[in-house]
């Protein structure tokens, strides 16, 4: 058991170390660039100023982060539920698949960012419109990947379950669903960061809370140090959530052949 934990944790520790080195390098380049190009503080604040801005304002940055994360994760969860439902329908009904798939492609092709004002009109200024944006931006990769995973089952395997007269529900639970998990997670890993982007965009357009709102407020007072602090906070939170998702994936897909490829 502890071996198992270690084998899961080791790549994570390595990833964290790499991340620390990268961040340190990035901050150093940033500081040097300000000196070399003689950048004004309102254009690019120094790392130190951003750090200070964060801790001076953390009393409202943290609550703003929780709001944004709540909106993002709710939208992402909605993507998973709706995505799985649509994918299931598409696998079992070629007719509905023919209706749903083109609609999804068309929806995906529309600039969803432009729909933010409409969503706010429909769902109000509160969190619901942001959840809607997070959902709208993130659900396409979830549906498409889940549908592929549910459909791409070896024909002989399906024949075998037919021979056992397993029925649709059992075949779904015992074959299609586990078969689709790796592809579902590939979709989730694309969708989760986009969901966060969706929530922030929603907050940009019209809101009273959340990190997107704080960024807009900071802009309007030319507090670029605070803008940077909030943006970095979104990026860090998004990365951490992605890491959690990868960890869940590894736990659920332990049966997959080990590869030496780094965790992504």
């Amino acid at each position: 058991m502890s071996d198992r934990v270690r084998s899961l944790a080791a790549p994570l520790v390595r990833s964290v170390l790499i991340a620390v080195v990268l961040v340190a390098g990035f901050v150093a380049c940033w500081a040097v660039a300000i000196e070399v190009f003689d950048l004004q503080a309102y254009v690019v604040p120094t790392p130190g100023a951003v750090w200070q801005a964060f801790w001076e304002n953390d009393s409202f940055l943290w609550p703003a982060l929780w709001v944004t994360l709540y909106e993002s994760l709710a939208g992402f969860a909605l993507s998973i539920v709706v995505g799985l439902a649509l994918a299931t329908v598409m696998v079992y009904s070629p007719l509905l698949r023919g209706l749903i798939m083109p609609s999804l492609v068309a929806l995906n092709a529309t600039p969803k960012v432009a729909l933010a004002p409409v969503l706010i009109l429909w769902l109000g200024l509160g969190v619901n419109s942001k959840i809607g944006m997070a959902f709208l931006l993130s659900f396409f990769p979830v549906v498409v990947n889940t549908a592929r995973g549910l459909a791409e089952v070896d024909a002989d395997l399906l024949d075998y379950f037919r021979l056992l007269r397993a029925g649709r529900v059992r075949t779904f639970v015992k074959v299609r669903l586990p078969n689709s998990l790796p592809m579902m997670f590939d979709g989730f890993k694309i969708a989760l960061p986009i969901a966060i982007v969706g929530a922030v965009i929603g907050e940009f357009v019209a809101s009273k809370e959340g990190l997107g709102y704080q960024i807009i407020v900071a802009y309007s007072t030319f507090s670029s140090d605070l803008v940077f602090a909030a943006v970095i906070l979104v990026a860090v939170a998004s990365t951490v959530l992605y890491g959690v998702l990868v960890l869940i994936e590894r736990l659920l897909l332990r049966w997959r052949p080990r590869s030496d490829a780094p965790a992504v």
Binding site: D154, D156, L157, D159, Y160, F161, R162, L163, L164, R165, A166, R170, K174, V175, P178, L181, L253, W255, R256, P257
Partner: protein
């Protein structure tokens, strides 16, 4: 469906099958008559595309013939009455060996299969790998897991579609002998599809030779080579005679 005669497990009368895809029709099987005798080891041989898999699927009840009729003994209509092994192992990669072998009883909701599963795993030389995942096994071992899975419900009929086609010659011969052993111990009826002529002659009680387009039975050979067969069988003059005959038949009817 009428009852089959005693001593017969399944009977096909005048069975034809046509596939229709995008306007094109393929006559995969044409007027096939065949009785499966209880307990026999039947081998289907023929060139690629002569309808062997189609015939096997019809026997399994996975495919309804477009023409003709099929009578089965009642035992085959029970769930788990037919075991099947495919060219690829088609295991569930997310399940351990033991849990893969247990799939049929799990689907049929019968209990107490664990002992039987462990027994099968042991007798096919997989002991110690119960908890391994399929990707951790060699191709031959995976196919043995598939055989265990097919045998778990103790079906009277075992269907195998080129089960050893993807394996190397050594593994293939070993599994041939393992299969003969399983068959002679359990006295199941086995239908084995192959296009390996040595395999056909080594294993079959009867060898059904098929020809392609349209898929037809051109000859049924009774193979009286003494059992148990093994390495010594290859030295039997009758083995050489049968292989030469089969080779002439199959290569002669291959229009590809």
């Amino acid at each position: 469906m009428t009852a089959v005669a005693t001593g017969t497990l399944l009977s096909l009368q005048n069975v034809s099958h046509r596939y229709r895809t995008s306007g094109r029709e393929v006559n995969a099987l044409d007027q096939v008559d065949l009785d499966l005798r209880d307990g026999e080891f039947l081998v289907l041989v023929g060139a690629s595309g002569c309808g062997k898999s189609t015939l096997l699927k019809i026997i399994a009840g996975l495919l309804d013939p477009t023409e003709g009729s099929l009578d089965r003994s009642p035992g085959l209509d029970e769930r788990g009455g037919i075991g099947m092994v495919f060219q690829k192992p088609v295991l569930l990669p997310w399940r351990s060996v033991l849990r893969n072998v247990l799939v049929p009883t799990e689907v049929l909701r019968t209990d107490g299969a664990r002992e039987a599963a462990l027994g099968l795993i042991d007798s096919t030389g997989l002991a110690g790998f119960e908890d391994a995942y399929p990707h951790q096994l060699s191709g031959g071992m995976q196919q043995r897991v598939a055989i265990c899975r097919a045998l778990l419900t103790d079906p009277p009929l075992l269907l195998m579609d080129e089960p050893f086609g993807a394996l190397d010659a050594i593994t293939r011969e070993r599994l041939n002998l393992l299969l003969q052993e399983i068959w002679s111990e359990t006295r199941k009826t086995v239908v084995l599809v192959t296009h390996n002529i040595d395999e056909a002659v080594l294993l079959g009680d009867r060898i059904v030779v098929m020809s392609p387009r349209p898929g037809r039975i051109v000859e049924v050979i009774e193979n009286d080579l003494p059992r148990p067969r093994g390495a010594h069988t290859y030295a039997d003059p009758r083995f050489a005679e049968l292989s030469v005959h089969l080779r002439a038949q199959i290569v002669g009817t291959d229009h590809e």
